[in-house]
């Protein structure tokens, strides 16, 4: 049986776990831990991914797609390179309503680009949030080149997640054909 791997990365609290949860056919295997109280992160959410999230989509008896979500906090970034090994492509999640994370998102994007020359897309997540920056503004803010797909996304919405993954697969296909 062939397995194919995609990585979902991005800063802390950008919606990576939610993204995988929306599309995975299995309950996401998550390595979340409670966040220490009185930290910046604890204000954002109660749990964070410390090693990886793991989701699965079975295509048929011979093919399975694995989705790996990276830990968002910098202190777990030793996991990134391990997770990037053998990936077909990757998604960079950005919390569109938190401009303080844009620089970190760009840094993560560049780090993953350096790991492997594979196609990737950027998902402008939380587009349903009232403070969300529009995708076009995010492209300029993050200095994303025009040939890279930057897609509006709501990670808790399955159709939105499907669209992001499909666009990544189309990019992979285009590269193969090119």
């Amino acid at each position: 049986m062939q397995t194919v791997k995609m990585v979902i990365t991005g800063p802390f609290s950008s919606g990576k776990t939610e993204f995988i949860r929306s599309i995975s056919e299995i309950e996401v295997v998550s390595t979340e831990r409670g966040i220490s109280e009185n930290t910046a992160e604890s204000m954002e959410k109660e749990n964070t991914t410390v090693a990886m999230d793991f989701g699965r989509i079975t295509v048929d008896d011979d093919l399975v797609l694995y989705l790996f979500g990276t830990p968002g906090q910098r202190r777990f970034d030793f996991m990134w390179e391990i997770l990037a090994e053998g990936m077909l492509g990757f998604v960079v999640m950005v919390d569109s309503a938190k401009p303080e994370t844009f620089r970190e998102a760009k840094s993560i994007l560049e780090t993953f680009r350096a790991y492997a020359n594979t196609p990737y897309v950027v998902a402008a997540n939380k587009q349903d949030h009232p403070d969300a920056w529009a995708a076009d503004d995010l492209r300029i803010a993050l200095r994303i080149e025009d040939n890279v797909k930057l897609l509006p996304c709501i990670a808790k919405d399955k159709e939105s997640v499907k669209n992001v993954l499909l666009e990544l697969l189309y990019s992979i296909l285009e590269e193969m054909e090119g």
Binding site: V4, I23, M43, P130, D136, I140, M176
Partner: protein
């Protein structure tokens, strides 16, 4: 959707670049930051917007208006600062034209041959640029861009291309960094010569340099002098720096500030998988069917 955040995370130069590239129309407001006691997603102190510090308006990506909350930016002050009206003329016009809009006042001044139309346009343009160059050096503060919001009709607006502003602004940021490093804060006292007129005799100084150099009270801080002369922080820093270098003022420097940076090692290249096209097509079909 609003564009909002903190210039600590997304600098004013980056904002101008975004506004220019997206050809945006609206007003950018930068606020005083009020500490909330909370941390943001990156662990920095979260600042809520307080009183506005500056407003900058744009029309289809062009800079058209800028005003600093702490400065009197009306036409008389702008022309006075540009040297087109004397202090006395400015005082009289202020008294006589209290409730006159800038546009109406401009017409009156042109008709009375006080100034020409190009004097007004150039002075406003320079004032707008001074405000923007000054706020480009700010390191922190909440901001919000309101789409479509424009200054009142009574204001005179001069469209300015942003490309050059961004380039010149970036150059000034570097210069400002050096000045701030040299003069970390503006609360130090300036010590002037016993007789400034005598000491400054024969030295070619600009109007602003004269104003600072002859500010009288030897206990004055540069912040107080700036306020008295309607100058921005950077303007006073530049002048004090120049006067100090020329030996015309002395100052007592408070302790400097440190900055630290981190570097990250470049990762090794990861192995990429060999996957056939039909596998990708199967994945596409599967995801479509979910």
């Amino acid at each position: 959707m609003p564009l909002q955040g903190n210039i600590r995370d997304f600098s004013t130069t980056q904002l101008l670049n975004l506004i220019n590239l997206a050809r945006k129309t609206g007003t950018l407001t930068i606020f005083e930051g009020i500490k909330t006691g909370e941390k943001d997603a990156m662990g920095n102190e979260k600042l809520a917007p307080g009183a506005p510090r500056a407003n900058v308006a744009f029309n289809t990506g062009k800079l058209i208006f800028a005003a600093m909350d702490s400065q009197d930016g009306n036409l008389v002050s702008v022309l006075n600062k540009a040297g087109k009206l004397t202090d006395e003329q400015a005082r009289i016009i202020r008294e006589r034209a209290k409730n006159t809009t800038d546009k109406a006042l401009a017409m009156l001044l042109i008709n009375a041959n006080y100034v020409s139309q190009s004097d007004i346009v150039n002075s406003i343009k320079q004032h707008t640029l001074d405000v923007v160059y000054n706020l480009l050096t700010w390191a922190e503060g909440p901001f919000r861009f309101d789409d479509g919001k424009m200054p009142g009709n009574e204001r005179i607006m001069v469209p300015i291309d942003l490309e050059n502003v961004i380039i010149e602004g970036s150059r000034r940021i570097k210069e400002a960094e050096k000045l701030v490093e040299h003069l970390p804060n503006l609360d130090f006292a300036l010590k002037f010569p016993e007789n400034p007129k005598e000491k400054f005799k024969g030295i070619h100084l600009s109007v602003e340099e004269w104003r600072v150099g002859s500010s009288g009270n030897p206990q004055s801080t540069s912040r107080q002098i700036a306020k008295a002369n309607n100058m921005s922080d950077m303007e006073i820093r530049r002048i004090v720096y120049g006067l100090e270098q020329a030996g015309l003022v002395e100052l007592v420097k408070p302790p400097g500030m440190d900055s630290t940076g981190t570097t990250r090692t470049r990762p090794k290249a990861a192995r990429t998988p060999q996957v056939q096209k039909n596998v990708v097509n199967k994945l596409i079909d599967k995801i479509k069917s979910i």
